[in-house]
Amino acid sequence: MNDTKSDIPAIELKGIRKTFTLSEDRNAQKVLALDGIDLSIRQGEFLTIIGPSGCGKTTLLRVMASLILPDEGEVIVEGETVLEPGIKRAMVFQTFGLFPWKTVIDNVVFPLTVQKFDPSEAREIAMTHIERVGLERFVDAYPHQLSGGMQQRVGLARALATGADVLLMDEPFGAIDAQTRELMQEELMRIWEEEKKTVVFITHDLDEAVMLADRVLLMSRGPGKVREIIPVNMPHPRTDYDVRAREEFADVRGHLWHALRNDLIEQRAEEAS
């Protein structure tokens, strides 16, 4: 039973197209954000998505979360077509997305309250996950009293507390200073290696993309398309060694950088003309 279940992709995208209208003006320009994306993400896989800015990676994640609906195509989560956000997917936001009027514990409890958990049970679950990210001393603090790194730990604890199988992370460490970011990456790796959740992780940081991923998805600029998907064959647990010192790391990173660089140069040439 378990085997057949794990054969079903965690998330499957079929022919996703999405166009945005730039303003409310009737004859406003339309922008193609996603142009026929097909993608299958295995259960327990760590997929990072990278691409030049404006390539539609955040749009892609928001489609996976069903925060926006595609114009065409299907989002299938564990075998079921979805049309609205659901408890199997939990999001982590670039700007942390914490409610400033709620304390740490209340922020983590929030999704459980929405799911109508018994309050004391919800509190217990929330506490467990706050402890996992090492913030037990700050349960009653408000977000503005915490550093960026701590706020994102709360964001992570909240996503984990939902019990969702899939974490959708939108440049979660993008707004965090470099050293804290490294620690957060390690922590995320450790948690992922323990729980084997499916993670979809958007980033604009090449190192981060390679370091964390089972596969790196490279998007191409302009109309969002999958340019290529590159497997990263480095053993786990990756927290045990210096990932950056590995040959595979340098290979994948070099390959990605080459592709990205071409895209950027083309973009500049177009802008100049």
């Binding site: 700007t95 997305g97 909240r158 939902t162």
Partner: protein, 251 residues
Amino acid sequence: MKTRTKRDIRRDQLVGVAIFLGVWEVSAQLFDKPLLLPPVSAILAALWDLLISGELLTALGESILLLIVGLFVATVIGFVFGTLIARSKTAYWMLNPYFSALFVTPTIALVPLVLVWFGFGFTGRVLVVVLAAVVPILFSVASGLRDAPGDLIDVARSFGVKGEIPLLFTVRLRAALPVLMAGLRLAAGRAVVGMAVAETYLRLGGIGGLIKSYGAVFQTDYVFAAILPLSLLGITLVTIIARIERRLHWA
């Protein structure tokens, strides 16, 4: 310069009040025209008289009731229409000009209309308070809701909050609350003015009525004695709202 503690400030204020009242008392005695400027001692005597005769408390009770009912109705109306014009462009363009006009129209100018439409009973008086107070509440609801942080809406939706009404209560209104309270504080000040207008121009009653009727018989000391609790009422109300406001702030 050393920093001022709360106690220093209290002391400065008390000294200021003492000097002010002292100068008033002495000049009023020398000037000796109690119709124009009654001495402080006469005002205090008048206040005492109003107090023991029960006149003041009855009037105060009447005024507070009017104020609270008026503010409550204004808040309900302000929320409904504020939400409407924030969430619907059509409603905004259709209704906003009228609210803007109401905001700048002196409430007193509307009194004759209220009188012919609703009479001078409690309904009419409440309506005057509502007209005075509703617009700041409405505008603060509208602007608070318009600024609602889009990413928090996404957060709520991604964790399973469905539909406009639940989103309104879990995120939009809560995020707008500090702005709403500031609007409410402004509205409270205007409600006190509306109350005084209703009580002096619609039908004599409450504190406003007290002021007007003593003014009509040139008992200036009693007029002062009635103005004092009116100001105190306004200050108390605004202070209470400011307190709540501070508790609701998160940063």
